[in-house]
């Protein structure tokens, strides 16, 4: 599928229009966003082709396709670091942003007005001192339910579109949580959360968690999770030796994470794999990036990967969408 790929980097947002081979930024002097802004998040929406949102250390931005530039979106987050962005799959005007320190800001009108949600995450934490949002997910079964992971505090669940939140950490071996994936099967719902200390599973909507062995990996630092298919029939997990790390690997599971296989990669990752980039238009087409800039692509749902020649310094997130 002809597509546009995006990379959120510590030097702004990079675009690729040729299958990830070549990458470029918008014109440095006139692109609407400082090209060396630290960008952590790029987010597309299936119902708004080309409407890319980007979270930076200088505010929230929206790509303006017609003018080939970014438009600044005024928000209360300018002084924070916008690390994650999610939009309601049913309503792209409903935007949820996660920041460092760990706060959630919600706009119900496509970014015109914002409310700071009462997440009430920890105000300090072990090791990294300041908490931060590492993922935001709309519940695939009920998008009025929003989930978030916080590093370092735990898994948060909001049953009411972000008005209230509940911290779910019972059984977590480590509250340094990174990402979530959901599977609704005949035996009920299963939720997986990646942490600094391995994978955890919940069979009761996050009320309790159980750490699970992942013998396929010599490391326990699990970062990004990605479920392929509408019900996450195939799972991908990224693992690294540590943050930022010196190596990483991809694990793949076809049985909801009960068994994992290490995926052969054509080139050794130079650091922890930080993020998978996918789009529902083609579940088989997936990108991942190592935090230190390598880009890999799969066209067969993560079974095999090719490494792109171009590297981009420090990458925090990948995304793609069908070309306009």
């Amino acid at each position: 599928m002809k597509h546009t790929a995006y990379a959120a980097t510590m030097q702004g947002v990079w675009f690729s229009h040729d299958d990830g081979e070549n990458w470029s930024r918008l014109p440095t002097p006139t692109g609407g966003m400082y090209n060396e802004a630290r960008c952590w998040a790029v987010e597309t929406h299936k119902d708004r082709p080309g409407d890319l949102l980007a979270g930076t250390d200088q505010g929230l931005y929206r790509f303006n396709v017609d003018r080939n530039r970014f438009d600044y979106i005024p928000s209360p987050m300018d002084a924070l670091q916008i690390l994650r962005i999610a939009r309601d799959p049913r309503d792209p005007d409903f935007i949820v942003c996660g920041t460092r320190p760990a706060e959630i800001f919600i706009s119900q009108d496509n970014g015109v007005s914002w409310e700071r949600s009462n997440l009430n995450s920890a105000t300090e934490c072990w090791f990294i001192n300041t908490t931060r949002i590492t993922s935001i997910k709309f519940d695939p079964r009920d998008p009025d339910v929003i989930w978030a992971t916080v590093e370092i505090d735990g898994v948060f669940r909001s049953p009411d579109r972000g008005k209230t939140w509940e911290l779910l950490v019972d059984g977590l071996h480590d509250r340094d949580t990174h990402d979530l994936v959901f599977h609704d099967g005949e035996s009920g719902r299963e939720i997986m959360v990646s942490t600094e200390d391995g994978m955890h599973r919940s069979m009761n909507e996050g009320q309790s968690w159980r750490q699970e062995p992942t013998d396929a990996a010599p490391f326990v630092y699990f970062r990004s999770l990605h479920g392929i298919g509408e019900n996450a029939e195939i799972l991908l997990a990224s693992v690294g030796d540590k943050p930022s790390g010196e190596t990483g690997m991809v694990l793949r599971s076809t049985d909801i994470g009960r068994n994992w296989q290490a995926v052969d990669l054509p080139y050794p990752p130079n650091s922890t794999i930080w993020n998978f980039g996918a789009h529902p238009a083609d579940p088989n087409l997936i990108y991942f990036a190592t935090i230190f800039g390598q880009i890999f692509q799969s066209r067969d749902a993560g079974e095999s990967w090719t490494k792109k020649k171009r590297e981009l310094g420090e990458i925090r997130m990948m995304a793609w969408e069908p070309a306009l």
Partner: protein, 206 residues
């Protein structure tokens, strides 16, 4: 801090946007014929302003500030307590035909031509070292549309628009007024310290 870092998004007639970061370290308020210095405290890019329940007087304004390729102009909201909430959007004066005469400020359905407040030459010449082409480096000048002063109360949104009548362009800036006496959160539990693996002790960190 004796300077303010402004981060405008400056749009030109072709729709290109440049993003200079500029330090303002002297602020003046223009009052018809002269400009008086004013402390930088209160100058911000905030889009929310806490106020008492009784509200506060607000006035639409512009800020002219020195930039290397020509003076920039941004819409702003001036509060009577000294706060000046500045948009992160700007135009470059050299690209505005006839300068002030083409510009209008709008708030709450009321509009005023900047010509009614003063001339561009009058503003820049009121500043020591100011010339028509540019303001001296680091200088910002507030020009308020006093005739549009209004009372703003909590929960309202004040929208200030800078309008270029020639190009029909608009720079829109808004500020949401927040009730300082009301806690938006129903409860404020004690701040928590999150621990790491296996909830290990953290005394050695703090």
């Amino acid at each position: 801090m004796n300077f303010f870092l402004t981060r405008p998004h400056v749009e030109n007639a072709k729709g290109d946007v440049t993003t200079p970061d500029i330090l303002i370290d002297r602020l003046f308020v223009f009052s018809g014929e002269a400009s008086a210095p004013r402390p930088l405290v209160g100058l911000s890019h905030d889009i929310e302003a806490q106020t008492e329940q009784a509200g506060i007087s607000v006035t639409p304004a512009i800020l002219l500030f020195a930039a290397g390729a020509g003076t920039l102009v941004s819409p702003a909201l001036s509060l009577i307590d000294g706060r000046l909430l500045l948009a992160r959007k700007a135009w470059r004066m050299r690209y505005l035909e006839n300068g002030f005469s083409a510009l209008r400020l709008r708030m709450n359905d009321d509009e005023i031509s900047l010509d009614e407040i003063g001339s561009y030459l009058g503003v820049v010449s009121s500043i020591p070292g100011g010339r028509l082409e540019h303001l001296p480096r680091g200088i910002g000048v507030v020009v308020k549309a006093e005739k549009l002063e209004a009372r703003s109360v909590p929960s309202s949104r004040e929208v200030v628009e800078l309008i270029d009548t020639r190009s029909k362009g608009r720079l829109r800036h808004w500020v949401d007024m927040i009730d300082i006496t009301r806690d938006s959160w129903e409860h404020r539990p004690a701040p928590d310290y999150a621990t790491g693996p296996q909830n290990m002790g953290v005394k050695h960190y703090v």
